[in-house]
């Protein structure tokens, strides 16, 4: 295994509460900036961003908050930030662990809102320094945490959950066999079962059967998953182009260049989606209730995916490509656009983690070959 190169975290997007995003000047950062976390340079291994604050977890087990909520706590193995709750996983006495839910404004002082002893995972995960934590899924994978009551939600043991993500009104689960389940409200197509109906219990995504998924990510009202072979499937609400499909608001302004099929301008099979001959707005997709395969440039494979409220970020293996934010402006885009910053600086991105309105990226310098 090659020697670990220490990398740097970058952030871009909304920082209206002064959460550590680069310089933190003003309310938005349009181009990636290196993170300056409060308290000096920390060995951050995980970032969990809520809307008004961000939680940083270091390799040393410290959790540091930045933004509308502040404070630090030690002895933590994982943290999950939401507006209603800050959830911490702390190493407990002996082999156990403790799940704690704190009011974000408490600065983690005093008593948590509630706490519960939880089982550790059956086998400790071999932790890559930038491995995403499991929260809101609990280490035992038998339950997850919700920001709204009931806070502790059991999962059927048959599900063998590996990862779980929560959207504004739905949930996605990835199991040990690479299958994806979804449940919750479905009115924006975010469940992926082809209807707008709600599902009270986890339901298997039949459209993806036979494909082994490696990751899932949930945005506010959209869902993304990444297959073991590097393909991205995406579904749900496309009101801001978060599905990389032509969106109405851009179609009407004649600004969309995506078409419902074939997104790349590589010369093959591109249909111009901008204003048609008769001046009618381009066709657009508002809601995608079935998983759709996302076309990145030919030959590239996706390795990581993360969602904000209304944006999507995808990391590919070659050059570190992303969607939407980080392009030095605030234009909404409905096709994948590479974040050139990382290419220009010769940085290789290792992981991406989205908050609702911003994006955090961990990158190392490319090896000079």
């Amino acid at each position: 295994m090659d020697e670990e190169r220490r990398g740097t975290w970058f952030g871009f997007g909304f920082c209206g509460f002064g959460q550590a995003l680069g310089s933190g000047l003003g309310r938005q950062v349009h181009s990636p900036e290196p993170l300056r976390t409060p308290g000096g340079s920390l060995d951050v291994c995980r970032v969990s961003a809520s809307w008004s604050y961000t939680a940083f977890v270091t390799r040393g087990g410290r959790v540091q908050l930045s933004g509308a909520a502040g404070g630090t706590a030690d002895g933590c193995t994982d943290a999950w930030a939401s507006e209603e709750l800050l959830v911490l996983l702390r190493a407990g006495p002996g082999a156990g662990a403790e799940l704690q839910a704190w009011a974000p404004g408490s600065a983690m002082r005093g008593d948590p809102l509630w706490s519960q002893a939880v089982q550790e995972a059956e086998h400790g995960p071999s932790r890559d320094e930038t491995q995403a934590g499991l929260l809101p899924l609990l280490p035992c994978a038998r339950a997850y945490v919700s920001p709204r009551p009931p806070f502790y939600r059991p999962l059927a043991p048959t599900l063998r959950a590996r990862r779980l993500e929560l959207g504004a009104e739905h949930a996605l689960l990835l199991d040990a066999a690479g299958q994806v389940f979804s449940w919750g409200a479905g009115r924006h197509g975010q469940l992926g079962h082809g209807t707008l109906e709600a599902e009270p219990e986890p339901r298997l995504l039949e459209a993806l059967q036979g494909l082994r998924m490696a990751e899932v990510a949930a945005g506010g009202w959209h869902s993304v998953c990444l297959s073991e072979t590097g393909d991205i499937y995406i579904w749900g609400w496309n009101e801001s182009g978060q599905l990389a499909l032509p969106t109405k608001s851009l179609a009407e302004d004649g600004k969309t260049t995506a078409e419902a099929s074939g997104l790349e301008e590589d010369g093959s099979e591109v249909k111009r989606g901008s204003a048609g001959e008769d001046g009618a707005p381009a066709p657009f997709i508002a809601v995608q209730p079935f998983p759709a395969l996302l076309d990145l440039s030919p030959g590239s494979e996706a390795v990581k995916v993360s969602c904000g409220s209304r944006h999507t970020a995808v990391l590919t293996s070659e050059w570190g490509k992303y969607g939407q934010l980080g392009h030095k402006d605030t234009t909404t885009l409905d096709r994948p656009c590479r974040v050139e910053y990382f290419v220009d600086k010769q940085l290789q991105v290792r992981t991406v983690s989205c908050g609702p309105w911003n994006t955090y990226v961990y990158a190392v310098e490319k090896e000079k070959s």
Partner: protein, 406 residues
Amino acid sequence: MAGPSTLWETLQALLPHTKEELKLELGEKVEGSVLMLLQEAADLFLGGQRRECLQTCEVLLDYSWEKLNTGPWQDVDKDWRRVYAFGCLLKAVCLCEPPGDATSVAAALKACDMGLLMGAAILGDILLKVAAVLQKHLLSGKRPAPGPSQEPPGTKKARNDHVPIPDVTTERTVPRLHCPSLQYFKKHFLVPGRPVILEGVANHWPCMKKWSLEYIQEVAGCRTVPVEVGSRYTDEEWSQTLMTVNEFISKYIREEPKDIGYLAQHQLFDQIPELKQDISIPDYCCLGDGEEEEITINAWFGPQGTVSPLHQDPQQNFLAQVMGRKYIRLYSPQESEALYPHDTHLLHNTSQVDVENPDLEKFPRFAEAPFLSCVLSPGEVLFIPVKHWHYVRALDLSFSVSFWWS
């Protein structure tokens, strides 16, 4: 008439001048981080920092918009709608900072309308007052009655319509009564749930004489309203969008429309109280259990050809026809099985059958289901009993007003 500085002064006079007054009483659902932003927006506004205030308003609007789109609309906490309205209010006033050109004022009015459509009442219905001021200002700069023709609605020259006007003489028609007494109506129609057309009840409402395309454009032209686009709401290509009444009329009524646009099921009279003066609440509504304030009044305004697929509603309905005629078919709730309602939760109150072009192979029982029909004309009021299935097609440019009561 009024210059931009007078507009600004008028608006300032409407708004509170102190931090204590420019404040919302909010419950626990609204997080501390949002309360901070509300405070910041108010401080910036009162401090005259309009550009920064606008930025903070955008954040408030985007965040509360997400809350408004989470979960079913009925379950959205009213406080989030108040936050949204507050953002719209400050945004609207900031946009009118002198020199307030017509584009900025129109944008400000749009912000007010968004607050009225999606927000909840704040600060003594201040959005209505601000909207009225802005509308007046916009109109004072314009020539009266825009629009190419003054012809009364309904006499539009023939477009290529093959509008089939159903021959209702071959169908069983809805009975008609002239001003029945409250007791008679209750005994013979309300209690047994039977449809009836009431004549002589609404024909003297001011709207019957006053309303025309020109009048509507005058009173509501620059206001933003929701419009349904597509032949019917059960279609895949159906969508909802927002536009001003002027845009709606020019795009979907006057010019050769490519699509059907329908200003449907919109509480226009809450948004534009001036229009409420032209209508009345039918006396028969007092036979219900609810309060008068709880009666939902909707406007239905659209070109010839709009269709509402066969569906049922959970309340009693008086449908008053003001402009143009509508063909309406009614099926009793007892026939529900023969009407093949969708089995999804979203559409369980809507029939799968296209009433005037039914697929009888797929829906065989539909052919035998008995129904009543009518052509509803201006001045007439149709009583649609609760849960009674109804199908509506506009035979002309049409404006109807519905009253949902219990």
